[in-house]
Protein backbone atom coordinates (compact mmCIF):
# COMPACT_ATOMS: atom_id res chain seq x y z
CA UNK A 1 0.00 0.00 0.00
CA UNK A 2 2.87 2.37 0.70
CA UNK A 3 3.63 3.03 -2.94
CA UNK A 4 0.05 3.42 -4.08
CA UNK A 5 -1.17 6.65 -5.64
CA UNK A 6 -4.75 7.86 -5.82
CA UNK A 7 -6.04 9.43 -9.04
CA UNK A 8 -9.26 11.42 -9.00
CA UNK A 9 -10.72 12.30 -12.42
CA UNK A 10 -13.05 15.24 -13.05
CA UNK A 11 -14.93 16.30 -16.14
CA UNK A 12 -14.31 20.04 -15.89
CA UNK A 13 -11.71 22.42 -14.51
CA UNK A 14 -14.32 24.00 -12.26
CA UNK A 15 -15.16 20.80 -10.40
CA UNK A 16 -11.45 19.99 -10.11
CA UNK A 17 -10.74 23.45 -8.76
CA UNK A 18 -13.53 23.24 -6.22
CA UNK A 19 -12.40 19.70 -5.33
CA UNK A 20 -8.79 20.80 -4.85
CA UNK A 21 -9.91 23.64 -2.58
CA UNK A 22 -12.06 21.28 -0.52
CA UNK A 23 -9.27 18.71 -0.15
CA UNK A 24 -6.62 21.28 0.73
CA UNK A 25 -8.93 22.80 3.36
CA UNK A 26 -9.03 19.33 4.99
CA UNK A 27 -5.23 19.31 5.11
CA UNK A 28 -4.75 16.90 2.21
CA UNK A 29 -1.75 17.55 0.00
CA UNK A 30 -2.44 17.36 -3.76
CA UNK A 31 0.76 16.22 -5.48
CA UNK A 32 -0.04 17.07 -9.08
CA UNK A 33 -2.79 17.88 -11.56
CA UNK A 34 -2.98 16.78 -15.20
CA UNK A 35 -5.18 18.85 -17.47
CA UNK A 36 -5.61 19.60 -21.19
CA UNK A 37 -4.88 23.29 -20.57
CA UNK A 38 -3.48 25.46 -17.77
CA UNK A 39 -6.08 26.05 -15.06
CA UNK A 40 -6.05 29.69 -14.03
CA UNK A 41 -5.35 30.18 -10.34
CA UNK A 42 -4.77 26.51 -9.51
CA UNK A 43 -1.07 26.79 -8.63
CA UNK A 44 -1.45 28.69 -5.36
CA UNK A 45 -4.35 26.43 -4.32
CA UNK A 46 -2.34 23.19 -4.50
CA UNK A 47 0.79 24.90 -3.23
CA UNK A 48 2.90 25.00 -6.38
CA UNK A 49 5.42 27.76 -5.85
CA UNK A 50 6.05 30.39 -8.49
CA UNK A 51 8.39 29.57 -11.32
CA UNK A 52 11.98 30.75 -11.08
CA UNK A 53 12.42 30.56 -14.84
CA UNK A 54 12.49 34.37 -15.07
CA UNK A 55 15.54 34.53 -12.81
CA UNK A 56 17.24 31.93 -15.02
CA UNK A 57 16.35 34.02 -18.07
CA UNK A 58 17.99 37.09 -16.55
CA UNK A 59 21.16 35.16 -15.74
CA UNK A 60 21.31 33.65 -19.25
CA UNK A 61 20.79 37.07 -20.84
CA UNK A 62 23.57 38.61 -18.74
CA UNK A 63 25.83 35.70 -19.70
CA UNK A 64 25.00 36.48 -23.32
CA UNK A 65 25.87 40.16 -22.83
CA UNK A 66 29.19 39.27 -21.20
CA UNK A 67 30.08 36.73 -23.89
CA UNK A 68 29.14 39.06 -26.74
CA UNK A 69 31.08 42.03 -25.40
CA UNK A 70 34.14 39.95 -24.55
CA UNK A 71 33.99 38.20 -27.89
CA UNK A 72 33.67 41.36 -29.93
CA UNK A 73 36.40 43.05 -27.94
CA UNK A 74 38.72 40.11 -28.61
CA UNK A 75 37.89 39.68 -32.31
CA UNK A 76 37.53 43.29 -33.38
CA UNK A 77 39.69 45.32 -31.01
CA UNK A 78 42.39 43.18 -29.44
CA UNK A 79 43.29 40.25 -31.63
CA UNK A 80 42.78 41.80 -35.06
CA UNK A 81 41.81 45.49 -34.90
CA UNK A 82 39.31 46.32 -37.61
CA UNK A 83 38.57 49.65 -39.21
CA UNK A 84 34.99 49.63 -40.39
CA UNK A 85 33.56 52.74 -42.03
CA UNK A 86 36.33 54.91 -40.60
CA UNK A 87 35.15 54.39 -37.05
CA UNK A 88 37.82 54.67 -34.36
CA UNK A 89 39.41 51.27 -34.02
CA UNK A 90 41.35 50.08 -31.02
CA UNK A 91 38.60 51.27 -28.69
CA UNK A 92 35.66 49.29 -27.40
CA UNK A 93 33.87 52.22 -25.80
CA UNK A 94 34.08 54.55 -28.80
CA UNK A 95 32.81 51.81 -31.08
CA UNK A 96 30.15 50.66 -28.70
CA UNK A 97 27.05 51.80 -30.64
CA UNK A 98 28.07 49.39 -33.40
CA UNK A 99 28.28 46.53 -30.90
CA UNK A 100 24.94 47.14 -29.21
CA UNK A 101 22.77 45.31 -31.77
CA UNK A 102 24.97 42.21 -31.59
CA UNK A 103 25.04 42.34 -27.81
CA UNK A 104 21.27 42.63 -27.72
CA UNK A 105 20.71 39.78 -30.15
CA UNK A 106 23.14 37.54 -28.35
CA UNK A 107 21.47 38.27 -25.02
CA UNK A 108 18.10 37.29 -26.52
CA UNK A 109 19.57 34.17 -28.12
CA UNK A 110 21.12 32.99 -24.86
CA UNK A 111 18.01 33.83 -22.81
CA UNK A 112 15.65 32.06 -25.23
CA UNK A 113 17.71 28.90 -25.66
CA UNK A 114 18.67 28.81 -22.01
CA UNK A 115 15.03 29.07 -20.93
CA UNK A 116 13.86 26.42 -23.37
CA UNK A 117 16.58 23.97 -22.34
CA UNK A 118 16.03 24.67 -18.63
CA UNK A 119 12.31 24.11 -19.07
CA UNK A 120 12.79 20.78 -20.84
CA UNK A 121 15.34 19.59 -18.30
CA UNK A 122 13.23 20.61 -15.31
CA UNK A 123 10.14 18.87 -16.70
CA UNK A 124 12.24 16.02 -18.08
CA UNK A 125 10.46 16.25 -21.41
CA UNK A 126 13.47 15.63 -23.58
CA UNK A 127 13.30 13.88 -26.95
CA UNK A 128 12.85 10.13 -26.49
CA UNK A 129 11.72 10.39 -22.88
CA UNK A 130 8.61 8.35 -22.11
CA UNK A 131 5.48 10.39 -21.34
CA UNK A 132 4.60 10.44 -17.64
CA UNK A 133 0.95 11.11 -18.24
CA UNK A 134 -1.08 8.56 -16.26
CA UNK A 135 -4.32 9.24 -18.15
CA UNK A 136 -4.12 9.92 -21.89
CA UNK A 137 -7.59 11.47 -21.70
CA UNK A 138 -6.12 14.44 -19.77
CA UNK A 139 -4.85 15.62 -23.14
CA UNK A 140 -8.46 15.80 -24.30
CA UNK A 141 -11.30 16.34 -21.84
CA UNK A 142 -10.32 14.93 -18.44
CA UNK A 143 -8.86 16.69 -15.41
CA UNK A 144 -6.97 14.39 -13.05
CA UNK A 145 -5.61 14.99 -9.56
CA UNK A 146 -2.76 12.90 -8.21
CA UNK A 147 -2.60 12.34 -4.46
CA UNK A 148 0.05 10.24 -2.80
CA UNK A 149 -1.11 8.96 0.61
CA UNK A 150 2.49 8.57 1.78
CA UNK A 151 2.89 12.36 1.43
CA UNK A 152 -0.11 12.87 3.70
CA UNK A 153 -0.80 12.48 7.38
CA UNK A 154 -4.26 11.18 6.53
CA UNK A 155 -4.92 7.54 5.62
CA UNK A 156 -5.71 6.45 2.08
CA UNK A 157 -9.30 5.58 2.99
CA UNK A 158 -9.94 8.98 4.55
CA UNK A 159 -8.52 10.64 1.44
CA UNK A 160 -10.81 8.58 -0.77
CA UNK A 161 -13.88 9.46 1.26
CA UNK A 162 -12.90 13.13 1.10
CA UNK A 163 -12.52 12.86 -2.68
CA UNK A 164 -15.92 11.20 -2.98
CA UNK A 165 -17.53 14.43 -1.66
CA UNK A 166 -15.98 16.49 -4.50
CA UNK A 167 -18.03 14.97 -7.38
CA UNK A 168 -15.25 13.12 -9.23
CA UNK A 169 -16.07 11.07 -12.33
CA UNK A 170 -13.76 8.31 -11.28
CA UNK A 171 -11.38 7.49 -8.42
CA UNK A 172 -8.63 4.94 -8.85
CA UNK A 173 -5.78 3.66 -6.74
CA UNK A 174 -2.76 2.54 -8.67
CA UNK A 175 0.55 1.03 -7.84
CA UNK A 176 3.22 3.51 -8.80
Amino acid sequence: MANNVIYASYDSEHTLMAGAKALVSKGIHVDDVFSPFPIHGLDPVIGVSRTRLAICAFIYAMTGVALAVTGMWFFMIYDWPMNIGGKPSMSLIQNFPAFVPVTFEFAVLCAAHGMAITYFLRNWTLPGVKAKNPYPRTTDDRFVMEINPSHNHVSADEIKSAIADTKPVEVEERHK
Partner: protein, 404 residues
Protein backbone atom coordinates in the same frame (compact mmCIF):
# COMPACT_ATOMS: atom_id res chain seq x y z
CA UNK B 1 -17.07 56.30 -4.62
CA UNK B 2 -16.65 59.41 -6.71
CA UNK B 3 -13.50 61.43 -6.82
CA UNK B 4 -13.67 64.78 -5.08
CA UNK B 5 -11.05 67.33 -6.00
CA UNK B 6 -10.04 68.03 -2.41
CA UNK B 7 -9.46 71.56 -1.18
CA UNK B 8 -5.87 70.68 -0.38
CA UNK B 9 -5.10 69.28 -3.85
CA UNK B 10 -6.81 72.28 -5.43
CA UNK B 11 -4.73 74.59 -3.25
CA UNK B 12 -1.50 72.80 -4.15
CA UNK B 13 -2.18 72.98 -7.88
CA UNK B 14 -3.14 76.66 -7.69
CA UNK B 15 0.00 77.42 -5.67
CA UNK B 16 2.06 75.55 -8.29
CA UNK B 17 0.48 77.67 -11.02
CA UNK B 18 1.10 80.90 -9.07
CA UNK B 19 4.69 79.96 -8.24
CA UNK B 20 5.21 78.97 -11.85
CA UNK B 21 3.84 82.25 -13.16
CA UNK B 22 5.82 84.44 -10.76
CA UNK B 23 8.99 82.37 -11.13
CA UNK B 24 8.74 82.49 -14.92
CA UNK B 25 8.32 86.26 -14.95
CA UNK B 26 11.17 86.81 -12.47
CA UNK B 27 13.32 84.27 -14.28
CA UNK B 28 12.79 85.84 -17.68
CA UNK B 29 13.52 89.34 -16.35
CA UNK B 30 16.72 88.47 -14.51
CA UNK B 31 17.98 85.48 -16.50
CA UNK B 32 19.97 87.51 -19.05
CA UNK B 33 23.28 87.07 -17.24
CA UNK B 34 24.73 84.17 -19.17
CA UNK B 35 23.42 85.10 -22.59
CA UNK B 36 25.75 84.68 -25.48
CA UNK B 37 25.64 87.58 -27.90
CA UNK B 38 23.29 85.98 -30.42
CA UNK B 39 20.90 84.25 -28.05
CA UNK B 40 17.94 86.33 -27.04
CA UNK B 41 16.18 85.93 -23.78
CA UNK B 42 12.90 85.90 -25.69
CA UNK B 43 13.99 82.72 -27.44
CA UNK B 44 14.70 81.06 -24.13
CA UNK B 45 11.33 82.05 -22.69
CA UNK B 46 9.38 80.98 -25.77
CA UNK B 47 11.27 77.73 -26.15
CA UNK B 48 10.44 76.92 -22.53
CA UNK B 49 6.83 77.61 -23.28
CA UNK B 50 7.08 75.20 -26.21
CA UNK B 51 8.83 72.53 -24.11
CA UNK B 52 6.20 72.59 -21.37
CA UNK B 53 3.39 73.17 -23.80
CA UNK B 54 4.40 70.16 -25.84
CA UNK B 55 5.33 67.90 -22.93
CA UNK B 56 1.91 68.09 -21.28
CA UNK B 57 0.04 68.26 -24.58
CA UNK B 58 1.93 65.10 -25.61
CA UNK B 59 0.87 63.29 -22.45
CA UNK B 60 -2.70 64.22 -23.14
CA UNK B 61 -2.54 63.25 -26.81
CA UNK B 62 -0.86 59.93 -26.09
CA UNK B 63 -3.53 59.38 -23.44
CA UNK B 64 -6.10 59.74 -26.20
CA UNK B 65 -4.14 57.29 -28.31
CA UNK B 66 -4.04 54.81 -25.42
CA UNK B 67 -7.77 55.18 -24.84
CA UNK B 68 -8.46 54.53 -28.54
CA UNK B 69 -6.08 51.58 -28.46
CA UNK B 70 -8.03 50.05 -25.58
CA UNK B 71 -11.28 50.42 -27.51
CA UNK B 72 -9.91 49.12 -30.79
CA UNK B 73 -8.27 46.09 -29.19
CA UNK B 74 -11.36 45.59 -26.97
CA UNK B 75 -9.25 45.42 -23.83
CA UNK B 76 -11.04 44.42 -20.66
CA UNK B 77 -8.64 45.09 -17.78
CA UNK B 78 -8.18 48.78 -18.62
CA UNK B 79 -11.90 49.51 -18.20
CA UNK B 80 -10.99 50.12 -14.56
CA UNK B 81 -8.69 53.04 -15.48
CA UNK B 82 -10.76 54.38 -18.38
CA UNK B 83 -11.96 57.44 -16.46
CA UNK B 84 -8.37 58.33 -15.56
CA UNK B 85 -7.40 58.50 -19.21
CA UNK B 86 -10.60 60.35 -20.07
CA UNK B 87 -9.48 62.95 -17.53
CA UNK B 88 -5.96 63.11 -18.99
CA UNK B 89 -7.32 63.91 -22.44
CA UNK B 90 -9.29 66.86 -21.06
CA UNK B 91 -6.01 68.82 -21.13
CA UNK B 92 -5.89 68.60 -24.96
CA UNK B 93 -7.52 71.98 -25.77
CA UNK B 94 -5.37 73.85 -23.21
CA UNK B 95 -2.14 72.23 -24.38
CA UNK B 96 -3.13 72.84 -27.99
CA UNK B 97 -3.76 76.51 -27.24
CA UNK B 98 -0.29 76.90 -25.71
CA UNK B 99 1.31 75.34 -28.79
CA UNK B 100 -0.73 77.53 -31.14
CA UNK B 101 0.34 80.54 -29.07
CA UNK B 102 4.04 79.64 -29.41
CA UNK B 103 3.71 78.97 -33.14
CA UNK B 104 1.78 82.20 -33.70
CA UNK B 105 4.40 84.17 -31.80
CA UNK B 106 7.01 82.66 -34.10
CA UNK B 107 4.94 83.54 -37.14
CA UNK B 108 4.84 87.17 -35.97
CA UNK B 109 8.62 87.06 -35.36
CA UNK B 110 8.45 87.48 -31.61
CA UNK B 111 11.03 84.71 -31.31
CA UNK B 112 13.36 82.76 -33.59
CA UNK B 113 12.74 79.17 -32.57
CA UNK B 114 11.61 78.36 -36.09
CA UNK B 115 14.30 79.63 -38.38
CA UNK B 116 12.20 78.85 -41.47
CA UNK B 117 9.46 81.30 -40.41
CA UNK B 118 11.77 84.16 -41.39
CA UNK B 119 10.66 85.21 -44.94
CA UNK B 120 14.22 86.37 -45.75
CA UNK B 121 15.53 82.82 -46.00
CA UNK B 122 13.36 82.32 -49.10
CA UNK B 123 14.44 85.58 -50.73
CA UNK B 124 17.28 85.05 -53.21
CA UNK B 125 18.34 88.69 -52.98
CA UNK B 126 18.54 88.69 -49.19
CA UNK B 127 21.85 88.02 -47.39
CA UNK B 128 19.94 85.55 -45.19
CA UNK B 129 18.89 83.46 -48.20
CA UNK B 130 19.11 79.77 -47.37
CA UNK B 131 18.81 77.50 -50.38
CA UNK B 132 18.17 74.36 -48.33
CA UNK B 133 15.22 75.92 -46.54
CA UNK B 134 13.98 77.63 -49.70
CA UNK B 135 13.75 74.23 -51.34
CA UNK B 136 11.43 73.08 -48.56
CA UNK B 137 8.98 75.92 -49.22
CA UNK B 138 6.39 73.61 -50.74
CA UNK B 139 6.03 72.00 -47.32
CA UNK B 140 7.20 74.63 -44.83
CA UNK B 141 5.06 77.55 -45.99
CA UNK B 142 2.80 79.38 -43.54
CA UNK B 143 -0.51 78.44 -45.19
CA UNK B 144 0.11 74.71 -45.40
CA UNK B 145 1.81 74.68 -42.00
CA UNK B 146 -1.05 76.44 -40.24
CA UNK B 147 -3.63 74.32 -42.03
CA UNK B 148 -1.91 71.18 -40.75
CA UNK B 149 -1.51 72.48 -37.21
CA UNK B 150 -5.07 73.70 -36.82
CA UNK B 151 -6.69 70.73 -38.54
CA UNK B 152 -4.70 68.21 -36.48
CA UNK B 153 -5.48 69.84 -33.16
CA UNK B 154 -9.12 70.24 -34.19
CA UNK B 155 -9.47 66.62 -35.29
CA UNK B 156 -7.83 65.22 -32.15
CA UNK B 157 -10.00 67.40 -29.96
CA UNK B 158 -13.14 66.30 -31.83
CA UNK B 159 -12.26 62.63 -31.26
CA UNK B 160 -11.46 63.26 -27.59
CA UNK B 161 -14.80 64.98 -27.02
CA UNK B 162 -16.69 62.23 -28.83
CA UNK B 163 -15.10 59.41 -26.78
CA UNK B 164 -15.83 61.21 -23.54
CA UNK B 165 -19.40 62.01 -24.49
CA UNK B 166 -20.14 58.43 -25.53
CA UNK B 167 -18.50 57.05 -22.41
CA UNK B 168 -20.74 59.15 -20.17
CA UNK B 169 -23.75 58.23 -22.30
CA UNK B 170 -22.98 54.54 -21.86
CA UNK B 171 -23.04 54.97 -18.08
CA UNK B 172 -26.70 55.93 -18.37
CA UNK B 173 -27.89 53.84 -21.32
CA UNK B 174 -25.91 50.59 -21.16
CA UNK B 175 -26.08 47.97 -23.88
CA UNK B 176 -23.40 47.25 -26.43
CA UNK B 177 -24.18 49.55 -29.36
CA UNK B 178 -22.19 52.49 -27.92
CA UNK B 179 -19.30 50.15 -27.27
CA UNK B 180 -19.24 48.88 -30.85
CA UNK B 181 -19.47 52.35 -32.35
CA UNK B 182 -16.60 53.41 -30.07
CA UNK B 183 -14.53 50.48 -31.32
CA UNK B 184 -15.12 51.58 -34.90
CA UNK B 185 -14.39 55.23 -34.15
CA UNK B 186 -11.23 54.24 -32.25
CA UNK B 187 -9.95 52.23 -35.21
CA UNK B 188 -10.43 55.27 -37.45
CA UNK B 189 -8.67 57.44 -34.89
CA UNK B 190 -5.66 55.12 -34.76
CA UNK B 191 -5.22 55.41 -38.52
CA UNK B 192 -5.57 59.20 -38.38
CA UNK B 193 -3.24 59.40 -35.40
CA UNK B 194 -0.60 57.16 -36.97
CA UNK B 195 -0.23 59.68 -39.75
CA UNK B 196 -0.85 62.95 -37.94
CA UNK B 197 1.39 62.24 -34.94
CA UNK B 198 4.44 61.89 -37.15
CA UNK B 199 3.64 64.98 -39.21
CA UNK B 200 2.99 66.93 -36.02
CA UNK B 201 6.44 65.96 -34.70
CA UNK B 202 8.11 67.13 -37.93
CA UNK B 203 6.19 70.39 -37.94
CA UNK B 204 6.46 71.47 -34.33
CA UNK B 205 9.78 69.96 -33.26
CA UNK B 206 11.91 68.67 -36.12
CA UNK B 207 11.51 71.92 -38.07
CA UNK B 208 13.41 73.70 -35.26
CA UNK B 209 16.56 72.11 -36.68
CA UNK B 210 15.36 73.05 -40.15
CA UNK B 211 18.28 71.66 -42.12
CA UNK B 212 18.18 68.30 -40.46
CA UNK B 213 15.75 65.46 -40.98
CA UNK B 214 15.18 61.95 -39.69
CA UNK B 215 12.48 59.54 -40.74
CA UNK B 216 12.46 57.97 -37.31
CA UNK B 217 11.80 61.26 -35.55
CA UNK B 218 8.01 61.01 -35.53
CA UNK B 219 8.01 57.61 -33.85
CA UNK B 220 10.62 58.70 -31.40
CA UNK B 221 8.60 61.73 -30.30
CA UNK B 222 5.46 59.60 -30.17
CA UNK B 223 7.12 56.96 -27.96
CA UNK B 224 8.24 59.69 -25.57
CA UNK B 225 4.69 61.03 -25.37
CA UNK B 226 3.35 57.55 -24.82
CA UNK B 227 5.66 56.82 -21.87
CA UNK B 228 4.59 60.17 -20.44
CA UNK B 229 0.92 59.18 -20.70
CA UNK B 230 1.50 55.79 -19.07
CA UNK B 231 3.49 57.32 -16.21
CA UNK B 232 0.85 59.97 -15.67
CA UNK B 233 -1.92 57.37 -15.67
CA UNK B 234 0.01 55.26 -13.15
CA UNK B 235 0.71 58.23 -10.88
CA UNK B 236 -2.93 59.35 -10.90
CA UNK B 237 -4.09 55.81 -10.13
CA UNK B 238 -1.60 55.55 -7.25
CA UNK B 239 -2.88 58.87 -5.91
CA UNK B 240 -6.48 57.67 -6.13
CA UNK B 241 -5.58 54.40 -4.42
CA UNK B 242 -3.86 56.32 -1.62
CA UNK B 243 -7.19 58.13 -1.07
CA UNK B 244 -8.95 54.77 -0.80
CA UNK B 245 -10.73 55.20 -4.14
CA UNK B 246 -11.02 52.70 -7.02
CA UNK B 247 -11.73 49.73 -4.71
CA UNK B 248 -11.87 47.28 -7.61
CA UNK B 249 -8.45 48.29 -8.92
CA UNK B 250 -6.28 45.40 -7.74
CA UNK B 251 -2.66 44.32 -7.87
CA UNK B 252 -3.12 42.82 -11.33
CA UNK B 253 -4.28 46.15 -12.73
CA UNK B 254 -1.25 47.83 -11.18
CA UNK B 255 0.93 45.12 -12.69
CA UNK B 256 -0.48 45.94 -16.11
CA UNK B 257 0.14 49.66 -15.65
CA UNK B 258 3.71 48.86 -14.61
CA UNK B 259 4.10 46.65 -17.68
CA UNK B 260 3.10 49.56 -19.92
CA UNK B 261 5.58 51.93 -18.27
CA UNK B 262 8.26 49.27 -18.64
CA UNK B 263 7.42 48.27 -22.20
CA UNK B 264 7.08 51.77 -23.63
CA UNK B 265 10.31 52.82 -21.93
CA UNK B 266 11.95 50.03 -23.91
CA UNK B 267 10.23 51.24 -27.09
CA UNK B 268 11.53 54.75 -26.43
CA UNK B 269 15.08 53.48 -25.87
CA UNK B 270 14.88 51.34 -28.97
CA UNK B 271 13.85 54.28 -31.15
CA UNK B 272 16.36 56.62 -29.49
CA UNK B 273 19.14 54.18 -30.16
CA UNK B 274 18.07 53.26 -33.71
CA UNK B 275 17.97 56.91 -34.71
CA UNK B 276 21.31 57.61 -33.04
CA UNK B 277 23.16 54.54 -34.23
CA UNK B 278 22.18 54.83 -37.90
CA UNK B 279 23.22 58.48 -38.05
CA UNK B 280 26.40 57.83 -36.04
CA UNK B 281 27.35 54.91 -38.26
CA UNK B 282 26.65 56.57 -41.61
CA UNK B 283 28.37 59.77 -40.43
CA UNK B 284 26.86 61.95 -43.17
CA UNK B 285 27.65 65.60 -42.36
CA UNK B 286 24.12 66.93 -42.91
CA UNK B 287 22.65 64.32 -40.56
CA UNK B 288 25.32 64.04 -37.93
CA UNK B 289 25.32 67.77 -37.07
CA UNK B 290 22.19 67.22 -35.00
CA UNK B 291 24.05 64.89 -32.65
CA UNK B 292 27.32 66.82 -32.78
CA UNK B 293 25.45 69.83 -31.43
CA UNK B 294 23.98 67.79 -28.59
CA UNK B 295 27.08 65.82 -27.66
CA UNK B 296 29.34 68.87 -27.75
CA UNK B 297 27.19 71.36 -25.89
CA UNK B 298 24.73 69.19 -23.96
CA UNK B 299 26.73 66.02 -23.15
CA UNK B 300 25.48 65.49 -19.61
CA UNK B 301 21.81 65.81 -20.54
CA UNK B 302 22.18 63.90 -23.78
CA UNK B 303 23.69 60.80 -22.22
CA UNK B 304 22.05 61.39 -18.86
CA UNK B 305 18.44 61.16 -20.04
CA UNK B 306 19.18 57.99 -21.96
CA UNK B 307 20.62 56.50 -18.83
CA UNK B 308 17.70 57.62 -16.65
CA UNK B 309 14.93 56.72 -19.06
CA UNK B 310 16.36 53.32 -19.91
CA UNK B 311 18.24 51.89 -16.94
CA UNK B 312 15.82 52.91 -14.22
CA UNK B 313 12.74 51.27 -15.70
CA UNK B 314 14.74 48.41 -17.17
CA UNK B 315 16.50 47.15 -14.08
CA UNK B 316 14.04 48.25 -11.42
CA UNK B 317 10.75 47.38 -13.11
CA UNK B 318 11.91 44.16 -14.75
CA UNK B 319 10.56 41.75 -12.16
CA UNK B 320 6.89 41.00 -11.63
CA UNK B 321 7.04 41.90 -7.94
CA UNK B 322 8.48 45.36 -8.63
CA UNK B 323 5.67 46.21 -11.06
CA UNK B 324 3.14 45.32 -8.38
CA UNK B 325 4.89 47.23 -5.62
CA UNK B 326 4.34 50.94 -5.12
CA UNK B 327 7.76 51.21 -3.39
CA UNK B 328 9.42 50.48 -6.72
CA UNK B 329 6.81 51.79 -9.13
CA UNK B 330 6.36 55.26 -7.63
CA UNK B 331 10.03 56.40 -7.55
CA UNK B 332 10.68 55.03 -11.04
CA UNK B 333 7.58 56.74 -12.40
CA UNK B 334 8.55 60.07 -10.81
CA UNK B 335 12.16 59.89 -12.00
CA UNK B 336 11.35 59.04 -15.60
CA UNK B 337 8.59 61.65 -15.63
CA UNK B 338 11.36 64.21 -15.12
CA UNK B 339 13.55 62.21 -17.51
CA UNK B 340 11.02 62.56 -20.29
CA UNK B 341 10.56 66.26 -19.62
CA UNK B 342 14.33 66.56 -20.09
CA UNK B 343 13.96 64.56 -23.28
CA UNK B 344 11.55 67.16 -24.67
CA UNK B 345 13.92 69.87 -23.40
CA UNK B 346 16.65 68.30 -25.49
CA UNK B 347 14.40 68.03 -28.54
CA UNK B 348 13.83 71.79 -28.51
CA UNK B 349 16.67 73.65 -26.80
CA UNK B 350 19.80 72.76 -28.80
CA UNK B 351 18.17 73.92 -32.02
CA UNK B 352 17.32 77.27 -30.39
CA UNK B 353 20.18 77.98 -27.99
CA UNK B 354 22.91 76.18 -29.96
CA UNK B 355 26.28 76.46 -28.23
CA UNK B 356 24.83 78.39 -25.28
CA UNK B 357 24.27 75.02 -23.66
CA UNK B 358 21.65 73.93 -21.15
CA UNK B 359 20.44 76.37 -18.54
CA UNK B 360 17.98 74.77 -16.22
CA UNK B 361 17.42 77.62 -13.82
CA UNK B 362 14.59 79.47 -12.14
CA UNK B 363 12.76 80.05 -15.42
CA UNK B 364 12.81 76.41 -16.53
CA UNK B 365 11.89 74.92 -13.17
CA UNK B 366 9.14 77.39 -12.32
CA UNK B 367 7.57 77.15 -15.76
CA UNK B 368 7.52 73.37 -15.44
CA UNK B 369 5.89 73.61 -12.02
CA UNK B 370 3.36 76.11 -13.33
CA UNK B 371 2.33 73.85 -16.18
CA UNK B 372 2.27 70.87 -13.85
CA UNK B 373 -0.16 72.77 -11.65
CA UNK B 374 -2.32 73.64 -14.63
CA UNK B 375 -2.28 70.06 -15.86
CA UNK B 376 -3.18 68.60 -12.46
CA UNK B 377 -5.92 71.19 -11.99
CA UNK B 378 -7.48 70.46 -15.38
CA UNK B 379 -7.24 66.68 -15.08
CA UNK B 380 -8.55 66.51 -11.52
CA UNK B 381 -11.41 68.85 -12.31
CA UNK B 382 -12.43 66.54 -15.13
CA UNK B 383 -11.89 63.45 -12.96
CA UNK B 384 -14.33 64.80 -10.39
CA UNK B 385 -17.07 65.24 -12.99
CA UNK B 386 -17.94 61.57 -13.48
CA UNK B 387 -17.94 58.37 -11.39
CA UNK B 388 -14.43 56.93 -11.20
CA UNK B 389 -15.61 53.48 -12.18
CA UNK B 390 -17.56 53.28 -15.41
CA UNK B 391 -21.02 51.74 -15.33
CA UNK B 392 -22.62 49.42 -17.87
CA UNK B 393 -19.44 48.83 -19.83
CA UNK B 394 -19.65 45.37 -21.43
CA UNK B 395 -16.19 44.46 -20.05
CA UNK B 396 -16.64 45.91 -16.59
CA UNK B 397 -17.29 42.57 -14.91
CA UNK B 398 -14.22 41.05 -16.52
CA UNK B 399 -12.10 43.97 -15.44
CA UNK B 400 -13.30 43.69 -11.83
CA UNK B 401 -12.15 40.06 -11.79
CA UNK B 402 -8.89 40.79 -13.56
CA UNK B 403 -6.28 38.38 -12.25
CA UNK B 404 -2.88 37.60 -13.73
Amino acid sequence: MDFVFSKRAKMVSIILMAVGLIGSIVGSLMGGGHDHGHVHMADRVWSNLLINGFFFFGISLAGLFFLALQYAAEVAWSVMVKRVFEAIISYLPIGGTVIILVLAAGQFHMHHIYHWMDPNVYDVTSPDYDELIANKYAYLNPVFFWARTLIFIGVWYAFARWFRKKSLEQDLVGGTSIHYSSVKRAAIFLVVFGFTSSVMAWDWLMSIDTHWFSTMYGWFVFSGMWVGAMITGTLIVLYLKSKGLLPNFNQSHLHDMGKWVFAISMLWTYLWFCQFMLIWYANIPEEVTYYVERIKHYPLLFFGITFINFFFPFFILMSRDAKRNIIFLLPVALIIFIGHWLDVYLLVTPGVMHDAGAHIGLLEISMFLGFLGLFVFTVFTQLAKAPLEVKNHPFLEESVHHHI
